[in-house]
């Protein structure tokens, strides 16, 4: 575990109960989130990016999900095995979360101030009046104009963008060391999305917290992250610093995603596309799960599940042919 890792996930496998038994949603996820950094996690639906995030706070529905293997370490404690009481202190305290849908994340019968101060009163034992004045400070911090008036309003008076600002205010209320943002701008309009991303970037710098940005949008990731983890069908397929990933992607899936975005500026030209579809979690695919869609598939890809191999400093790829060609000989 690197010295500056805030959260360290090792070999995490999470399974869900289905009609056909337990099915792995994510498998062998290992990643570090360093203090103060912005980690981007990118993947399509079914890639397991949200499952990974929810696992950190153990927010899966009880009985339908289980962590079959692995550990998630924070301050020398394994969050997967910590008692529920300790975990409540972590949630909203050390680690906070912002979700995709700001419409259903706020309780319609409580005022904005009440909802923001709820975790403060819980975690720091503030009084109601203290809570309200802290809530107003936080509304200022997330750039909501006329904060004292807004604090006493109910969520239905706010637009989607404003609600997401309130959600961020709630998340940062206890000065978390890690903010997990799960598609925080996907439900918003383009100009509002840009505003929220700017806000998150500013807050990260002001508060010195780490941010785990989960998105399907490579554009959002490119503009926001320092380091990027690419997920496909429940596994990490590539991780690298953002510059490296976008200038020299190594996994064929990452390459395919880049190609499908980059050809868009020439009218009428066909876009580069990845054929096929994302497999269902319970579909059995021998070897590499991207194999059936990969243009460079070889016999070795079907023979065994490829390992995540480091091909240069901070750059890991889960592709047997590529890592054999690129990995430094002395490993």
């Amino acid at each position: 575990m690197p010295a500056d890792a805030l959260v360290s996930i090792r070999d995490l496998t999470v399974q869900f109960r289905t009609d056909r038994g337990w099915v792995s949603a994510i498998e062998d996820i290992s990643l570090d989130i360093n203090a103060g950094e912005c980690l981007g996690v990118v993947g399509e639906s079914g890639s397991g990016k949200s499952v990974t995030a929810l696992s950190i706070l153990r927010l899966h529905a009880r009985g339908t999900a289980r962590a079959a293997r692995g550990s998630i370490m924070l301050d020398g404690r394994d969050l997967l095995r910590a008692p529920e009481r300790d975990l409540r202190r972590v949630r909203g305290g050390d680690i906070a979360m912002v979700f995709q849908d700001p419409m259903s994340s706020l309780n319609p019968v409580l005022t904005i101030a009440d909802q923001i101060s709820e975790s403060l009163r819980l975690h720091q034992g503030l009084s109601r009046a203290e809570g309200r004045s802290r809530a107003i400070e936080l509304l200022d911090l997330v750039r909501i104009a006329d904060a004292p008036r807004r604090a006493d309003e109910y969520p239905h008076r706010l637009s989607g963008g404003m609600r997401q600002r309130v959600m961020i205010a709630i998340a940062i209320a206890c000065r978390p060391r890690l903010l997990i943002a799960d598609e925080p701008t996907t439900a918003l309009d383009v100009t509002i999305q840009a505003q929220i991303l700017e806000l998150l970037r500013d807050l990260r710098a002001e508060l010195g917290m780490a941010v785990m940005m989960i998105s399907h949008d490579l554009g959002v990731i490119a503009e926001f992250a320092h380091r990027v983890v690419v997920m496909y069908a429940g596994r990490i397929v590539e991780q690298a610093p953002v510059g490296t990933l976008f200038s020299a992607p190594r996994h064929p899936y990452t390459e395919g995603l880049m190609t499908s975005l980059r050809g868009r500026d020439i009218p009428g030209q066909r876009l580069g596309s990845i054929p096929g579809r994302v497999p269902d979690p319970d579909e059995s695919i021998p070897g590499c799960r991207f194999g059936p869609r990969c243009a460079h598939v070889e016999a070795v890809c079907r023979a065994a599940v490829p390992a995540l191999v480091s091909i240069s400093e901070n750059h890991d790829v889960r592709c047997t042919p590529r890592s054999q060609a690129l990995a430094p000989a002395c490993l």
Partner: protein, 330 residues
């Protein structure tokens, strides 16, 4: 713009209002479209972009007859579908106009086999024998790149991208000339988006289809559209050829929209975003509806609504910064 036989769609001064307000309250009329004028040529794609509340989806629904506009005129293939003979004229062009929906999960009846969904427009038109119909379904499935045995499966057996192919097959079943594509890829994963956009382009080349391609994602529109219209709060603020619009956006809102688009380029330094939000339809701002967010706002903008003017060939902008036929740099 001259109206020729090459034009599939001609829209003039289109307005649309909805009654709003619940029971007991006096209904207030909310105007969602303001005097839209545009054409779509034969085998042409017009991109229509805008954020939520811009009215872009309403335009699409009016063009296929799901909504009846409150003002202005719409002509499809030269026939007026807003005038006195609305019903008769619409019946005459119905088979030539089709629609592709945003959400491929809601667009297919979950209880009906895919083959029957695809054949539904044929059944309603009532022109084909059963065997002709089944042949046509197989042919359509092949056309959109699905295996022939898809016909007797149910929608839940398909992925989102595959369902969108089925929806496209249904839209093509009566060989239409004009298809409204309402955000056809925005519900799909990135790798699926490219497949569907490519398919739509292939079909256009093959059958000479015209598209109205509605989207909020300007990068998708860039690939498929020949011309692009940008909407804000119910008005068209700019229409331009694709290359012109992306290289040199004139309207401040178009520029803001392009600047705000996240790009897969970590080295790009993004300009600051415009402040504020899309205004409420219930209380629209006076004058130019964009003036509350515009970085170039002038006193005139607050009082006077700018008209869409042709400032260069094929280029129309509704902004006081520009006057007809000559441009001023913002």
């Amino acid at each position: 713009m001259p109206v020729t036989s090459e034009t599939s769609v001609e829209v003039r001064d289109l307005t649309m209002s909805f009654g709003s307000g619940g029971a007991g309250r006096r209904p207030t009329m909310v105007q969602v479209l303001h005097d839209l004028t545009f054409d779509i040529g034969s085998a042409e794609t017009l991109g229509l972009v805008g954020e939520s509340g811009s009215g872009k989806s309403t335009v699409g629904r009016i063009l296929v007859g799901l909504l009846k506009p409150t003002g202005g005129s719409v002509r499809l293939f030269g026939r007026s579908v807003t005038g006195a003979d609305r019903a008769a004229n619409f019946a005459a062009v119905r088979s030539r106009v089709q629609f592709v929906f945003q959400d491929p999960h809601a667009a297919l009846n979950p209880r009906i086999r895919v083959g029957h969904s695809i054949a539904e427009p044929i059944d309603i038109a009532g022109k084909h024998s059963r065997r002709d119909r089944d042949d046509r379904v197989r042919q359509l499935l092949e056309l959109v790149g699905l295996p022939r045995d898809s016909a007797d499966r149910f929608p839940h057996e398909f992925s989102g991208g595959q369902r969108q192919r089925i929806v496209i097959a249904r839209a093509l079943s009566l060989s239409p000339d004009f298809v409204v594509c309402d955000e056809p890829v925005s519900a799909l994963d990135v790798s699926m988006q490219a497949q569907i956009v490519n398919l739509l382009m292939d079909l256009q080349d093959r059958f000479g289809l015209s598209y109205l391609f509605i989207a909020h994602d300007m990068t998708v529109v860039r690939a498929i559209a020949r011309r692009v219209a940008v909407m804000y709060a119910g008005s068209i603020v700019e229409i331009a050829r694709n290359a012109d619009l992306y290289a040199d956006p004139l309207h401040p809102y178009t520029r803001a929209l392009l600047d705000a688009m996240p790009r897969p380029d970590p080295t790009r330094i993004r300009p600051r975003t415009i402040p504020g939000e899309v205004p409420s339809l219930l209380a629209p701002p006076s004058g130019c509806r964009f003036h509350t967010r515009c970085p170039h706002v002038m006193p005139r903008c607050r009082d006077e609504s700018p008209r869409l003017l042709e400032i260069a060939p094929g280029r129309q902008v509704a902004c006081h910064l520009f006057t007809a036929a000559e441009t001023t740099e913002p």
